[in-house]
Amino acid sequence: MTKSEYMNALREKLQHYNRALEMEILEDYEQHFAEGLAEGRREEDIIAELGNIDDMLKEFSEEDLKQELEIVENQANQSNSYEQLYRAVVIEGLLADVEITASTDDRIWIDYENGGSKAQKMQYQFYQYEQDGIFYAGVKERKGTDRHGEFAPESGLESILDVLTKFTQFSSWSGVDIHLSVQIPAGIPVIKIENTSGDLCVRGIQTQELETKCVSGDLRIEDVVCKKFLGKNQSGDVEVSGIVMKSDEDTEIKIRTTSGDLETREISAARVSLHTSSGDVSAERLEAGSLKVQTGSGEQNLEDIACDRAELRAGSGDIDAENIRGRELSAEAGSGEVELQADMEVFEVKTGSGDIELEAGARARRIHMVAGSGEISLDLSHIEGASITSRTGSGDMNIRGYEVSGRNYNTSYNSGICQVSLITGSGDITVE
């Protein structure tokens, strides 16, 4: 018999016992095998030593058997059993590509594949354990194989070997072939996943709180049901689609990247915050109570957004927003341009040296625009009535769709239902 045959038989027989017991005994046996194998013993010797499974099970009492009640409950609501057993699942992928999907039953399933070079197989290993109601699993570096630390070779030959090992370890990074796939049942309150260089893909899971952290790997999230999602990436890109949360509850989506790009599609929550330093942000079909988008040198591309309040901040990148509906929109760019096509009640738009182009919808009540040296183009053809203040330092101003005449550097109109105040430093004002 092989280890896997023995473990399968054990798993099969443990099914009749309560789940905590089942998990613990499986772990004990896994640990026993790991220790035995590490000592160089053969699988069949370890099996012989562990002995007959039925004899072992005799040590348990009737009470340990799965209660009838529990089985009925499980059938009614499969999410219950694990919700009670684990309050969180923590996955750490390190350099592995990690895939998190929904479990089709109420168990956690894990598949670990290390298809890398022999050195890599030796260097990395899978681990799993549970502590204080938290289930941990992931990939870690074996101790003693890390040669990046202390460097004190005894002979010249060893030093060469050391350098060679470092080199091969380093070059093997490009050919990393470690995959960790985890299936998580619905109802576990918290799921946290951390990854370093591997990619991370989370698909179709249901939880309360999802937290992801990636360093250089990409992050992809699809169709997740939760109340809070926090995503942090450094250089990897982020692609999120289909996180739908109720906006009348305390729900939140918060995603930050350093240099990676951030792309979202069909997400909604009471609070949505998208933040990148040098990466671009693009959002499509987003719904939020409050939306905050912040970019440094990256650009913002937003399309089909519904939100009560939107706050867009860009450093040197541009802001381009199309079809934004809601109440209040505040957009600020440093040297970037701002182009808005939005149906909001209140607009606050500011740029340093960038231009402003605004097409406001019928809902507009108050528009306030300030450009430092940039030009301002304003399309008011849809506006029914609003108070408008538009100010630029040295840029020109172009107003379309509003019936006024004249050409002035400092003009204030009060005509009909609109109140318009246009001020430029040295630029022209054109009203079409």
């Binding site: 640990q31 220790e35 499974i53 072992m56």
Partner: protein, 102 residues
């Protein structure tokens, strides 16, 4: 051997092995199977029961050989229980010895 007797004896052995210091599962089962021929597997349910009865607690330590090692540690209650069991065992042993030799 009578199963109840064996059960009690094994419990005493396990607890006594922990008096000198914490041990992880494999270490403990190896030590015991050095002295007596039992299936190592049967020790795990015993360890689990001792934990449930709060005679031992467990903690995890990362290991080079695979999954984290689960260490077992005697609680105060466990120490007292071990003392009581040891006394009972010695009395029992003396009685048995006296009876079987004549």
């Amino acid at each position: 051997m009578n199963t109840q007797l064996k059960k009690g004896a094994l419990e005493l052995c396990v607890l006594s092995q922990l008096v000198s210091g914490d041990k992880y599962g494999y270490e403990l089962t190896e030590r015991i199977s050095e002295e007596m021929s039992i299936a190592s597997g049967t020790l795990y349910p015993i360890l689990r029961r001792l934990k449930e009865d709060a005679y031992v607690t467990t903690y995890l330590v990362e290991s080079e050989s695979g999954p984290a090692r689960k260490y077992y540690q005697l609680t105060q209650k466990g120490r007292e229980y071990q003392q009581t069991m040891l006394q009972e065992w010695e009395q029992f042993q003396t009685a048995v010895n006296r009876l079987v030799r004549r």
